[in-house]
């Protein structure tokens, strides 16, 4: 349990904090990794040990939240219709506590509003879809690479993103409500 070796000079959280502050001030494209490194008070080279790329910073610890997503789906009652299990799973995964809403909004606005990030998000999206595809495959006795699981994953993603875009466009909108609306369309595919 005891830590060995030199302690880290910073943390993912600290880097995110500084980076988001700079992004808000000057825009994502006009902030260099050197800028962020200076702000954090750490070497540029070190930043790349915490985040694989500049584009990964806005996504934060997303990859590790996917394990949670897997558990949410796995714990769905098996007697629930498949479409409803996926529907509820997506809602649960995106159910952030009230206090975390504003930063979540900022994060998603940055990601969905910056072309370079829209492109890079493909990789996160792929992993998110895989979680759904794996679940659908298990429930239906198929391979995760079969067309049905993959399609359900893709369609779910498309619907979820639509909901997010609507959420960001309307300051008064409720994310859960929008997700509930768009995800309802899933029913058509799976019945």
């Amino acid at each position: 349990m005891s830590s060995r070796g030199r302690p880290g000079a910073t943390s993912h959280a600290r880097i995110e904090e500084s980076a988001f502050r700079l992004f808000a001030e000057r825009g994502f494209d006009d902030v260099t990794m050197a800028d962020i490194a200076a702000e954090v008070g750490v070497g540029r080279r070190t930043l790349f040990r915490y985040f694989e790329s500049k584009n990964d910073i806005p996504w934060g610890q997303f990859a590790s939240t996917l394990e949670h997503f897997r558990q949410i789906l796995a714990s769905m009652p098996v007697d629930l219709p498949l479409w409803e299990a996926v529907h509820r799973g997506v809602l649960a995964f995106n159910d952030v506590p009230d206090s975390a809403v504003p930063p979540h909004r900022d994060r998603m606005r940055l990601i969905l509003g910056t072309p370079a990030l829209q492109a890079h998000s493909v990789h996160q999206y792929a992993e998110w879809r895989d979680v759904i595809a794996d679940y659908v495959a298990r429930r239906r006795g198929l391979e995760p690479t079969d067309i049905l699981p993959r399609t359900v994953g893709s369609v779910s993603l498309a619907l979820a993103i639509s909901a997010y875009e609507g959420w960001l466009a309307d300051p008064n909108a409720d994310l859960a409500t929008l997700l509930d609306q768009t995800m309802t369309s899933l029913r058509g595919y799976l019945s």
Copy 2:
């Protein structure tokens, strides 16, 4: 009509040709813009006047084919159910002549099989989706930015890509058949 000024040293088609040859030999990531420039016999700087980025080369003249897509949809009978109009439109847009199938396959295999290109394709996808969203909006008397048109666009894209992936995975598969199968799911959303 008559051309004025210095004539171009190459063409989009020539660049695509050389680039695809190199990509096939060494893989997309191991070909530099300098390599392509040398192969074409033109300056590196000039390449960037024909294609905005290296990632744009595999997509070729895609942007200009979208005008064709718009016309296809616009010419659909208005008494056709919306879902069927979109369905047929997507099929028509992807109906390439037999002789053009092999290169089209190579192109799509490169795009869908190269991570860097998967990411960059987001921008082409967005324009493709907009064509559908605009059509749906016009037919339904909505704004192209409303949720329904955008969602139909996103879902159509997800379904079309699923079809393409199936097509690339099975050498004997017929693209039109696969598209027809996956696009059928659209019916559920729009009725």
